[in-house]
Every structure is written in C-alpha cells, then in structure tokens.
C-alpha cells in the first residue's frame, strides 16, 4: 500500500516534470552549452588554425564545460573532439556549468511548491511529507539521468560528425567506460540537484535559493580554488572536502580535461566518488528532515 502510494506520487511528479516548460528550457540550455563549448568552439578554433594541433599559433582557451580545456591540455585539439574522448567530454561540465543547471533544476522542482503554495494542496491529498519528498527525489533522479544521457548522446553525435568530416577513425569508449561515465555524471548531477532541493526547502522559495546556489557554485568555488587555495594551505586542505572540488576530481579521473573550469584532480577518483555520494545523501536527508519537521505555511 505504501509502495503503491509512493509510485503514485512519483508518477504525479513525473507528469509535472515533463509538462513544465522551464525544465525543457533547462535541458536545451544544458545541451547547447555542452555542445558549444565542448565541440563547436574548439572545432572552430581548430579549423581557424588557432589550435596548436591545427598548426596555428594561438591557444584554444579553456572556456567551456567540456573539452575546450581538453584540447589545450592534450595538445591535440582534433583528437580531443573524437569519439574516444566522449566520456570525459560529456561529464567535464558537471562540476561547474552543467552543475549550475542541475542546481536550478533542483530548486525549481522543490521550490516551485513553495512559490505556488502547492505543498498544502499536495499534502492534504493524503501522502506523507516524506512520500512527497521521495517523489521529488525520484523525479530529480530521472531528470538528471535523462540530462546526462542526452549530453552523452548529443556528444556522441557531435564527435561522430567531427570524425566523419575529418576522416578520422572512430573508436568509441567501451560499454563499461560509458556506464561508469554516465554513472559518475549522474552522481554529480544528482548531487547538485539535491543541493538545489535543500536550498529550496531551507529558504522556502525559488529566487533566493537559485541566487545563493549560483553564487556558491560559480563564484565562491572558483575564488576558493583559484585565489585562496594557492595562498592558504588550510584552504587547500578544506577544498578536498568540498563538493565542487570532489566533483571536479571525479570527472577528471574519468578523462575530463584539467583545463576545464572546475576540473582538477585534488583527490583520487574513488575518494571523490564517495565524497560526492556522501554529499548527495546528506543534502537529501537534511532536506527531507527539514521538510518533515517544519510547518507548511
């Protein structure tokens, strides 16, 4: 009975997820960002001759979520765009840029209920608060997995196209590498989404959680990594326990280019995966406890 209620709630949440235009906009933005900075800009640089591997004199700046940095780091712009690099290219943006989109998704999914005052409508229908929240988490799991898969698929299409146009041999990652890559990407994406959900519950809304979440993800993390950590050893040590650097370490361990913003191997891949998973569980539990305990006003 309780399981059936849970599946009913999940089904209801999935309907809301799929029918909400803002979610499709987020997915579109994620794909456009990923393809633009992982494939389009580096490939344009390669064609323009500004890429070292393309015989030019310039560098492809580490601009984007994916392999702009890979191109620079590998010293071979074209090779970084080929299917063999699909895993690293697809998950390289998750520590920062794609992570920000996942955070917004988490905030919208949970915070919208505060904004519209719909928690009361849902909870007076009967399910417990935890059942409702579990439905939200299940929906976020589906949404983040879908987004990661879409990025992999679009990346595969883009890299296959580059290989075809350039007459390069096509070597796809093995199924096991793909599975690990998708799993790691999902883990990082879900961690940021649950962070967004926690902020939404904590601040009971949408605007402030999005704003503060993005400030942390885009500004504070970068300042810590690029400014504070090189100057202060204790900040460098603290970094090893923060969610962003661990997400960066995890994707770096799976092939994401170290020149990509947020991608740097400060801890081992295994430790990073455990830490990110720990944050995911912690964020989810804390948000659930708060939602269960606090009044729905």
């Amino acid at each position: 009975m309780a399981f059936r209620r849970l599946t009913d709630v999940l089904a209801a949440e999935l309907v809301k997820l799929v029918r909400r235009p803002a979610n499709w906009l987020l997915l579109a933005v994620a794909l456009v960002l990923s393809l633009t900075f992982t494939y389009l800009v580096p490939y344009a640089g390669y064609l323009d001759g500004t890429d070292p591997a393309g015989g030019g004199t310039g560098n492809v700046p580490p601009t984007g979520p994916g392999s702009g940095g890979v191109a620079e780091a590998a010293g071979d712009g074209l090779a970084a765009l080929l299917p063999a690099e699909l895993v690293g290219n697809s998950i390289g943006g998750l520590p920062i840029f794609l992570g920000a989109i996942m955070l917004i998704l988490g905030v919208l999914t949970v915070g919208g209920e505060y904004g519209w005052g719909t928690w009361k409508t849902l909870f007076t229908q009967g399910p417990s608060r935890l059942a409702g929240y579990a439905g939200k988490l299940g929906t976020l799991a589906v949404a983040t997995l879908g987004t990661v898969l879409a990025i992999f698929v679009s990346g595969a299409a883009a890299s296959g196209l580059v290989a075809g146009v350039e007459g390069q041999p096509v070597h796809w990652p093995s199924p096991a590498e793909l599975a690990v890559g998708v799993g790691a990407g999902w883990l990082v994406a879900m961690m940021w989404a649950s962070f967004g959900a926690l902020l939404a519950v904590l601040l009971r809304g949408v605007a402030l959680p999005v704003g503060l979440g993005l400030v942390w993800l885009l500004a504070v993390q970068n300042l810590l990594a690029s400014l504070a950590a090189p100057l202060l050893d204790w900040v460098a040590q603290v970094q090893k326990g923060l969610p962003g650097p661990n997400a960066g370490s995890l994707v770096a361990a799976l092939g994401a280019g170290p020149g990509t913003p947020g991608v740097e191997q400060v801890v081992g891949g295994g430790q990073a995966a455990l830490t990110v998973a720990g944050y995911l569980v912690g964020f989810a539990l804390l948000a659930g406890a708060l939602l269960r305990r606090r009044d729905i006003l």
Binding site: D8, A12, R19, T118, T124, P127
Partner: protein, 325 residues
C-alpha cells in the same frame, strides 16, 4: 467490588481538538481551542481576519504542528496512516500548477490521493468547470481557480470536507452554487467544516457555528441559538409610563429603553398580550414588531471588532449564548 461505568462508545467525531494552541514567537495564533464537529453537520467556523481560523485548519490537516493540544480527525492524529483518506480540504485559497490545465492539475492530485482518474470528470461537473477543464490554470479567473480548488477537495469523495473561505472570488451566482453544493454534500452525509468571515453565507448553510476571536473560541452554538431569542420592539407613548408598565408585566430584566422605544426580551408570540396591557393602561402604541438579531450583530458583539475593549467583551462573554439583557 466497585462497578465502573462503561466508557461512552461510538464512532469518533470527524473533528475533535482539545486544548489546541499555536504560537508564532510571541504571537498566539490559536489559544486552547476545544472544537468538535459532529458527523453529518455543516459547521461554520467564524471569525475576523487573523482570528486563527486558518492556523486551526492547518493544524487539523497536519500542515502546521500545534504548540500544544491534540487534534483528531475521525479519531486519528495528524500523520497517522490514512488520516486524510476521507478528508478533502481547500485551505487559504486554491493553489495549483499554472502550466497545467485544470484537468491535468486534478490528474496530478488524483495520483497523490490514490483516487481513480474517473472521479475527475465527476468533480469537474460538480463545480461546473467541465467546459474549461482543458484550459491552462494560469488563464483561469479567480472564481474558476476557486472552483478548481473545491474540485480538488472533492476528489476523494470525502466524508469530511474542510473549506476555508470557499466563496472567495466567486460572483453572486457562483456563491449561490457553492452554497447549494455544500448543502447537497451535507445531505449526502458529508460533514463540512466551513471557515468563513461571510456571515450571510454561514447563516444560510451552517447547522452549528463556532466563533473564534484572537485565537480563542468565544462561543459554539446552533445558528438559531446564537442569534438568540427574538425580542419585541415597541414604539409607545408616553415612554416612561410604558417602561414602568412593561417592567411590571415582564420583569425588570426584560425591558430596555433603546433609541426612544422599548426592547422587550420576550417571545414575539407575546405581542398581543403586551399590546393589550399597554392599551388597557391608556398608552398609545405606534409600532410593535418582532425583532430578530442577525448573525452579524452577534458576531460583532462576540468578537468586538478589533478594539481592545471588544476583545475584553469577548472574553467576558465566554462560551454559550451571549447575554444581551
């Protein structure tokens, strides 16, 4: 061996609260509220804005935790499995998803409620929204949103319906429809707890009324009892002699001089007797008519408006029918 009388048994009331209190910091929103709503009745929960009505309803539904006291719906406390299975509610206005149609909003809520989706058509027709059910919620007028909120409350075919200001935003025809719907549901056996500050609405549909002021239940009674025994209004000359004759006839406590006439606290059936007495005493009776207090008058007497003196009056009145003479 002592015989212990058996505990009274029977099905639990749809709504029972005991010593229910809610504080927000220093603000006492609800103060030791004892409320009982009996099966099958339409109970009016009356009070001015900020009196604690919505906080009480939220506590009934488990949305807000009481600071003290207990809540039982059909004998079950908030959070108990299945506590809300037979309860429908519309609290503080409708709240649905603007990007979904009315029908899709109900589909989502039916999933949450574990209700078959076939019920959706029924409730849409009940609230007269079937024609616009395919339109997006964002395009609805306030009245249509209110109807959809009531439809959502009816999804579970509830035995207890809790409605907080259900006619907000409705036009006069919509308000009449809503009252008719409430009466229809009640006649079908549904218990209705209706929170409102619209006294006419409560007067027309409710069997019993609880009046709350500043978080406290100041009275609980049937509408008829709350309005009190009707009185007689007499315009008669000379007034002094008439007052003296009336006091002799009815007793001093039943006679008041108000606005140049007499208010007599007697049943209107006594009109002929009073008239005869005045005429026999040589008094000129210009007007003699029964006067019933309406609920609004009682409400203001109980809640005392918003002034402190009024609040003091409310506390002095306490439970039961207010003394007016």
């Amino acid at each position: 061996m002592t015989d212990i009388p058996p505990e009274p048994t029977g099905p639990p009331h749809p709504v029972e609260t005991s010593g229910l209190s809610k504080r927000y910091g220093d603000l006492v929103a609800v103060d030791s509220l004892d409320l009982t709503v009996r099966a099958g009745e339409v109970y009016g929960f009356l009070g001015p804005n900020g009196a604690g009505k919505t906080s009480t309803l939220r506590m009934l539904l488990g949305l807000v935790r009481p600071t003290a006291g207990t809540v039982r719906l059909f004998g079950r406390p908030p959070g108990a499995p299945g506590q809300l299975d037979q309860v429908g509610a519309l609290i503080e206005g409708p709240a649905c998803y603007p990007y979904l149609s009315g029908r899709d909003n109900l589909r989502v809520l039916a999933r949450y409620a574990g209700t078959p989706s076939i019920r959706i058509r029924t409730v849409l027709e009940l609230v007269d929204l079937a024609d616009r059910a395919g339109d997006r919620y964002a395009s609805y007028s306030l009245g249509m949103k209110q109807r959809l909120g009531v439809a959502a409350a009816l999804l579970k075919d509830p035995r207890l319906l809790i409605l907080d200001e259900p006619t907000n935003g409705l036009d006069p025809a919509g308000m009449a429809d809503m009252r008719a719907l409430i009466r229809r549901l009640a006649s079908a056996g549904c218990t209705v707890l209706l929170s409102s500050h619209l006294l006419g609405e409560v007067q027309q549909v409710c069997d019993r009324v609880g009046v709350v002021s500043r978080g406290r239940l100041v009275t609980e009674s049937t509408v008829a009892d709350l309005r009190g025994t009707a009185s007689l209004r007499v315009l008669v000359e000379p007034l002094g002699a008439a007052e003296e004759r009336a006091r002799a006839l009815l007793g001093p406590d039943r006679v008041r001089v108000v606005d140049g006439g007499l208010d007599l606290a007697v049943d209107p059936d006594q009109a002929a007797r009073v008239n005869t007495a005045f005429v026999e005493a040589g008094l000129a009776v210009r007007e003699l008519r029964p006067r019933e207090r309406d609920l609004e008058q009682v409400f203001f007497e109980l809640t005392g408006g918003t002034d402190a003196a009024g609040a003091q009056r409310s506390e002095e009145v306490g439970h039961g029918v207010p003394a007016t003479y």
